[in-house]
Structure formats: structure tokens, C-alpha cells
Amino acid sequence: MNKVYNNRAWLLVLPMLVLVAFSAIVPLMTVVNYSVQDVLGANARFFTGTEWFETMLNDPALQAAFLRQIIFSLTILAIQVPLGIGIALIMPKRGWQASAVLILITLPLLIPWNVVGSIWQIFTRGDIGLMGWGLRQLGIDYNITRNAGDAWVTIILMDVWHWTPLVAMLCYSGLRSIPEAYYQAARIDRASKWAVFRYIQLPKLTNVLVIAVLLRFMHSFMIYAEPFVLTGGGPGSSTTFLSQSLTTMAVGQQDLGPSAAFSIIYFLVILLVSWVFYTAIMNMQKDKHSQGGA
């Protein structure tokens, strides 16, 4: 769509800008201010320069948390995206069944994140939880508070349970937008199921899939409440992700300077990743438009 060039549009954007700036820019500036100082109290603070950044960049605990975070995010993406597509493909397309399945599937998305943690904490306990109890009955020594491997599997399972619905819903709505004529043409040509998926459904899905990957990546990168409630980051620090390290440092230990420096590094990484994604999306749309015009 050709947009009209008109700078008065800024007036429409202004109220939103004021609100978001109040919530985003003032705190961000404060974080930057904290990061170069050692704030001990209201009137006791010392300028430390880049010292906190140096400490944070070389902190082995944080590097480990960062690595865990990346492994976690990539793992859940690798599971949720194919699984979400699969579920979207087998969801009923019309009638009351479609509505019922839609409502059921969105259910996990609407549960407060700490309640998700509680649900899984209860569900996986060896004494009162169905899953924990069931696995013990099968003779599997399953204990998320003692075994790091179990804790990891459970957190990934929980995240898959919690967020696959979002991917599935996005893909489902992408699939619904394919005109029936495409399928008819494929039927006339006796296309196989795989061919229909590969040449009709998947190309239509790319747009929503990029949104899904972007949303999932950034949410998994700031995951906090669920693992905090479920495992508390343990056993040891085996399931401590970035947000939790940061919150422990900032709220638990009141280390304003280091946690601010850490926040900035964290934010810059997110900024870089989201810029790459955003540019990719925009270029994809641009390519599509230029192809459509040709």
C-alpha cells in the first residue's frame, strides 16, 4: 500500500509515545546511570567507570547462564516449531469441533506464568504429582530437585506444554487463509499430502512462522517465573537462566551497579537479535511486494 507522506501523523503517535517513553526511556537512562556507579545508598555513590561491565563480561556464572539460555531457547524452538505446525495441520477446520479445540488449545497461554510453574511443580512431585508418581511407579528415579537432567527435561516439557499452542494457533490461522481453490487445484493434479504441504501450505506459513519464531525466541530469552517456581534455578545453578540471575542480583543482593551493567549487556544482545529478525521480516515482505508487482 502506498502511504501518504505526512508528518502530522506524529500527532497521532504522540500520546502513545509519551506513555511508552515514560515506561521505557526514563528507566533505561537510570539503568545506564547505575551501571557506571557503585550505589550504596541515597547519598553514597562512587563513579566506577567501566569496571562493572568488565566484571560482568568475565563472570563465569553469568557466562554459564548465558550459554544455558541459548541452549534452552534453541531447544524449545526446535521442538515447538515443528510440533506447532503438526498440530495446526491436524486441527479440525470447521464446525463446533474447531471452536472446542481452539478454546482447549489456547488454555495454557492464559494461565499466569507463576501458576504454570505451580501446576508443574505439583504435577512432577514424586509424592503427590501424577507424573512424578507415575514415573516412580515405572521404576524411574525421577527427581527434579536432585537431578539436573530431570530438571532440564521437565522445564523443556513445561515450556513446550505452555507455548506450543501459540505456534499452533499462528500456523492454524495462516493455514485458514489459504483459498480452497489451491487445494482443489492440487486435488485435480493428484498431489500427494507431502507435496501439498511443501508447495502450498509451507510457503503460506512462512510469514506467521517468522512471527512465531520471533515471539517464542524473545519470550524464551526472558523466561523467569516458570523455572523460578518449578526448580528455583536448581539443582545447584543448573537451570538458572539469564532473567533469574539478573533478578537475584538486582533484588536479592541489591547490587545495583553490576546488575545494571548486566542488564545493558542483556538488552544489547536482545536488541541485536531482534534487529536481525526485524530486518529479515521487512525484507521478506518487500521481496514479496516486488514479486507481486512484477
Binding site: 508528518n7 502530522r8 501523523a9 495454557p108 499466569p112 490461522s173 493434479d189 515482505q285
Partner: protein, 298 residues
Amino acid sequence: MSYQLENTQPGEKYNTIFSRITPAQRRKRNARTRLRSRLLLGIYLVLMILPIYWLLNMSLQTNSEILGSMTMWPENLTFDNYIGIFTNSSWYMGYVNSIAYVLMNMLITICVALPAAYAFSRYSFIGDKHLFFWLLTNLMAPPAVFLLPYFQLYYSVGLFDTHIAVALAHCLFNIPLAIWILEGFMSSVPKEIDETAYIDGYSFPRFFVKIFIPMIRSGIGVTLFFLFMFSWVELLLARTLTATDAQPIGMIMTRTSTASGIDWGTLAAAGVLTILPGILVVYFVRHHIAKGFALGRT
């Protein structure tokens, strides 16, 4: 009319890509795949519901039954846990607080996001793309980064421990999200509609309220669904910005663990009650949801 499949060359024979199957084989195969997909979906749904069922199951049991034996359904059905929550103001006020700030946030967000999304979908202006990207980065900023300054900021302006503080704080990620979703919906409304209305003598505000907003009703419904969802499920900021008067239910739930152990029954009942508003919201937007999740761009 010809159907050119994506990723194929014009004139390319589909038969070279697609396998050959007779119609009889196809019908049989279709029936079989249909059955199989229903079965798979059924398995997924059962696995998905299981943890929630378990929560519900526990919420209807007494603590002694929960801890005493493994029961697949409540044998001594009891509603005591729910009654306990509804008769204790410190418990049910948690729900009132959560719902209050969620509704405030939805109202504020939609009011400022509608004109902004319209600007992004219809006009180009200096810095529009960068502004849009900046908005999205707020969607991606981990709330943990902003915890301390938020506390300081709202404390210094005297809003600490009020509903409006949480509502404003949640604007940080909800406004960008709303603009992102609404912009997609608005861009799918042809621009000729705007132009015709202006020619007919509509002023901008009147056109916007009388014609444009009704046209993107389903988009607004879906946006409200997402706003509800993300404000309702967020706890980190809500917890930091409140102490007693505006405490969200998620925070009150932590009270169930006391020195004498965890009150599992009440915890489970409170958990079940946090799921209900979500079901209600999803029920209202169920007809738009399939379309809306594509965020208007497909």
C-alpha cells in the same frame, strides 16, 4: 483462471512433482489419514489437559487426601478450598486487584494504540520505521532489566502500590504489541474507504469512530485478547510495584507455603481460579481468534 503454485515454474507439470494415485486409493487413504490425525490430536489434547486436570483434582481434595494417598479423582469431594478463598478478603482481593489493573491497562493501551496504529498503517513520516522498531524492542526487553528503576520511578511519583502503576508499567510491552497487531488489521482495510469518507465530509475523528473502528472490530477483539493475556500472566513487574493494597493474586498465592508446610489444596484452588477469566475471554473471541492470530498479515 490459473492456479500457479508457489515455488513452481510457470508451465511446469505438477505431475513431475506430485505422485500418481488413483481416486479409489485416495479415498481410502483420506479416511485413514483423517482417523489418524484425529487420534494424534486427541492424544495431544489429553496430554495437554492432564496437568490442568491434576490441579483441578487436587483443588477438590482435602490436604489429608492429597498427601495421604494417590487418588486419580477426589474421593471425598470437598469445596472447602474454594470456600476458604471466597470468604477471606485477603484472598479474593488478590483477584480483584489483578482484574482491576488488567482492565485499566487494556483501556489505556487500546486508547493510545488505535490512533498510533492508524498513523503507522496510513502515513509515512520522518523516522516511522525506526519508531516502529523501537516499539518492538520494548516488547522484547526483559522486564527484569527494568525492575529497580521502575520501583524507584513509581515510588518517586507516588504511585507505588496502586493499580494504575501496574497498568502503566504493563503498557511497556502491551502498547507495542497492540500497535503491531492493529497495524496489520488496519493495513488490510482498503485506503479508498478513508478517502471516500473524507470526500463525503467526514472529519477525521468522526470517520475514525463511526466508520473505521467498526470495520476492524475483530482486530480490536483479538488485540484485547492479547492485552488481557499478557497483562494477566505477567507477575514480575506487578509484584515489584505493589506491596499490600494492589497485590496481584499470583503474589498472594505464595502465602500458601508456611512454616507448617504448603497448603496444597488452597494453592490448587487458587490456581484453578486464575485460569477461569482466561477461559471466559477466549470464549468471547473464539470466532475471531483463528483469523486474529495471523495478526492480520497472511
